[in-house]
């Protein structure tokens, strides 16, 4: 276990460094205006600009710039080029919306994904299977911003059931819920489609396993066989899928949903920063996401080992 943790931590550090370098290069290798001018603002004089250049290393080779920028990120003092605001503060402001979206949607898509997966597998080839399969296909074929736009127009503007966008803090739970219910569902649709299809085919595979036949030969009811033996084994891959998808969404991967519903979350902040060619926020957000991906990846492995005793946490 200790070896596992150490190895995972080292891997995480490696991935974070690699990702920060790649992100930095993507933006620094292109014509980008003068970052010093953007940080200093229009009123900055030559001496102030020189100070900013020196502080960020803009007058030095690119690796010095990288190291200086990373130093600012790690010390928490990094500011965005365009707005000159502390990036970590800005991300912290976006975090409640993003966390609310990710956690709520994560629960919905896992729950409904499992429910639909089980129904389609148990009723394979019959009406319920066909109907849900059609829905799943439409789900994986629909971009979230299209679904979001439809929800805003028909459920928000026409029916006036939900607000037209924005985020409301959890301190007003009902308002919070009304602002988030549509984003949750819109974000979940794709994942429900994927998970239910994956679970369906896993169940149909596992149904033919010898130990399932053993379970039937024991005299267990179909329900007991399904829940204790088939589902218990089929959920293992679903859990690992969920961990990785959840990590991406929590790290700002729900850009499209956040943008169309104007939730002011981390993802939307990332999208806006990218459009402004504002390197520091993008760096921090990609690293944050990668961190969550690696962290939840490790967590998924631990849960995996717990769910499947054949797997040992070795380095």
């Amino acid at each position: 276990m200790a070896r596992f943790v150490i190895r995972r931590l080292l891997a995480a550090v490696g991935v974070l460094i690699a990702i920060s370098v790649v992100t930095f290069l993507i933006f620094q290798a292109i014509p980008n205006g003068d970052p010093a001018q953007r940080i200093g603002g229009r009123t900055a004089n030559a001496a102030e600009l020189a100070l900013i250049r020196h502080e960020w290393g803009f007058d030095k080779p690119i690796y010095v710039q990288y190291i200086k920028t990373m130093g600012k990120i790690l010390s928490g003092t990094v500011v965005s080029y365009s707005q000159n605001l502390n990036v970590l503060d800005q991300i912290r402001q976006g975090l409640p919306a993003t966390l609310s979206l990710a956690i709520g949607a994560g629960i919905i898509w896992l729950g409904l994904g499992i429910l639909f997966g089980v129904i389609t597998a148990v009723r394979a080839g019959r009406f319920a299977d066909r109907a849900l399969t059609v829905l799943a296909f439409i789900g994986v074929s629909s971009p979230p911003f299209f679904l979001g736009a439809l929800a805003i127009y028909y459920v928000g503007y026409k029916a006036n059931i939900i607000p037209l966008g924005g985020y409301s803090s959890l301190s007003h739970p009902w308002s919070w819920f009304k602002h988030l219910i549509a984003p949750w569902l819109v974000l979940s649709v794709l994942f429900i489609g994927i998970y239910s299809r994956v679970l369906r085919s896993t169940i149909l595979d596992i149904q033919h396993e010898d130990y399932v036949r053993t379970a039937r030969a024991k005299g267990l009811s179909e329900r007991q066989v399904m829940v204790r033996h088939i589902l218990r084994n089929s959920l293992i891959p679903i859990i690992s899928l969920w961990g990785l998808d959840f990590a991406q969404v929590i790290g700002g991967g729900a850009i499209l949903t956040e943008s169309v519903f104007n939730l002011h979350g981390v993802g939307q902040f990332a999208a806006q920063s990218i459009q402004r060619l504002d390197v520091p926020p993008v760096l921090v957000i990609t690293m944050l996401t990668a961190f969550f991906v690696v962290l939840l990846g490790a967590l998924v492995d631990v849960i995996y080992a717990f769910l499947d005793p054949r797997i040992r946490l070795s380095g």
Binding site: I26, G125, D129, V140, P143, I152, T202, G252, G267, I274
Partner: protein, 343 residues
């Protein structure tokens, strides 16, 4: 991103495996692809959607014909101040308060206009052409890169494998959209080599690269397994070169995996193109694509919902038809689906 599963072809739980094997071996003397084709040709649902997709492709390719012979306007032509006759009555294409005209069901502005007074039907077809082109080129890039990387990593193993897999891990740890948007925005400004930033090939390249790990990893896994098989040893003993072995011994054995991935990646590429365009990091204006058209529409909610509906529904139908057809192809190639319940 991969969508698992297969449609309604499984046997019920009880049939013993030994029987399945026998039944599967029955059509002796037919090659695996002939067999797959036979199965696909029986899957009417998949074929139906395949035909729908073909129709969409043909319609989009005919965009210039529609533009010049029916609508008599180009995809980027503004008619913002013009009036047209509807039911004998002159109407502004874009009303004085900026509301564009809805579907007229006439040759001009068949599906209405956008706030710039452009013909949506014309833009829909041209946009479809762009979306499909970006999707197709991106898929080609993904498949070629993933096949090369996956085969090389699985075949050589050792440090080649380690290096390639770590590189893929880095792409993997990026959220698809953040990497796509970052590359898309920066390359839209700088261009790639001789390519200008507003070229369609820029988003195609970005999407192609972003999806490589999702295809390369499964291919590598399969090659790792193949490498242990006798015929690879036999080829090595014969003194065939590495490239020769990879091309003539390994590639044919992973071809069916690649075929399964093509429609899946095409669907996902078109979706990603739409998402990037929506965020301003894909196809650059004034070039239309389904994604940019939806983005324009979202900006005009609630004034003109048809701006969202027209390209959105088209996009969903196109992607849906690829997905269903692709699922049929996978079913046809998947050895587990060999025996079906007779109905």
């Amino acid at each position: 991103m991969a969508v698992g599963g297969s449609t309604g072809t499984e046997l019920s739980a009880g049939v013993p495996a030994e029987l399945l094997v026998e039944a599967a071996e029955l059509p002796a003397g037919i090659g695996p692809y002939r067999l797959a084709w036979r199965r696909l040709s029986r899957n009417h649902g998949a074929l139906f959607f395949g035909v729908i997709f073909l129709v969409i492709v043909v319609l989009c390719l005919l965009a210039p014909v529609y533009s010049s012979d029916i609508a008599h306007t180009g995809p980027n032509d503004n008619h913002i101040t013009e009036q047209i006759k509807i039911g004998g009555k002159l109407t502004y294409v874009v009303s004085t308060i900026g509301l564009p005209i809805g579907p007229t069901w006439h040759s001009k502005f068949f599906l209405g206009a956008d706030p710039n007074g452009r013909d949506i039907a014309v833009r829909l077809l041209y946009g479809g052409r762009n979306s499909l082109e970006v999707g197709a080129v991106a898929t080609l890039i993904t498949i070629v890169l993933a096949a090369i990387i996956g085969i090389a990593a699985g075949y050589f193993r050792g440090w080649t494998d380690g290096l390639l897999m770590r590189a893929l891990d880095v792409i993997w740890a990026f959220p698809v959209y953040i990497l796509g948007v970052a590359l898309g925005v920066s390359l839209a400004i700088s261009g790639i080599g001789p390519l200008r930033g507003n070229s369609l090939m820029v988003p195609a390249f970005v999407i192609g690269v972003v999806f490589v790990p999702y295809v390369a990893k499964p291919i590598r896994g399969q090659v790792l397994g193949l490498r242990e098989r006798e015929f690879i040893d036999a080829a090595r003993v014969q003194g065939l070169s590495h490239v020769r072995i990879m091309a003539s011994e390994i590639f044919p054995n992973i071809a069916s995996t690649i075929i399964v991935f093509i429609p899946l990646m095409l669907a996902n590429s078109i979706l990603l193109e739409a998402g990037l365009s929506y965020l301003g990091a894909g196809v650059q204006p004034p070039n239309p694509s389904w994604g940019t058209m939806i983005a324009d529409g979202v900006a005009n909610i609630p004034a003109a919902i048809h701006l969202v509906l027209v390209p959105g529904i088209m996009l969903v139908i196109a992607v849906l038809s690829i997905n269903v057809f692709g699922d049929g192809v996978r079913d046809a190639l998947d050895p587990r689906a060999k025996v079906r319940i007779a109905r």
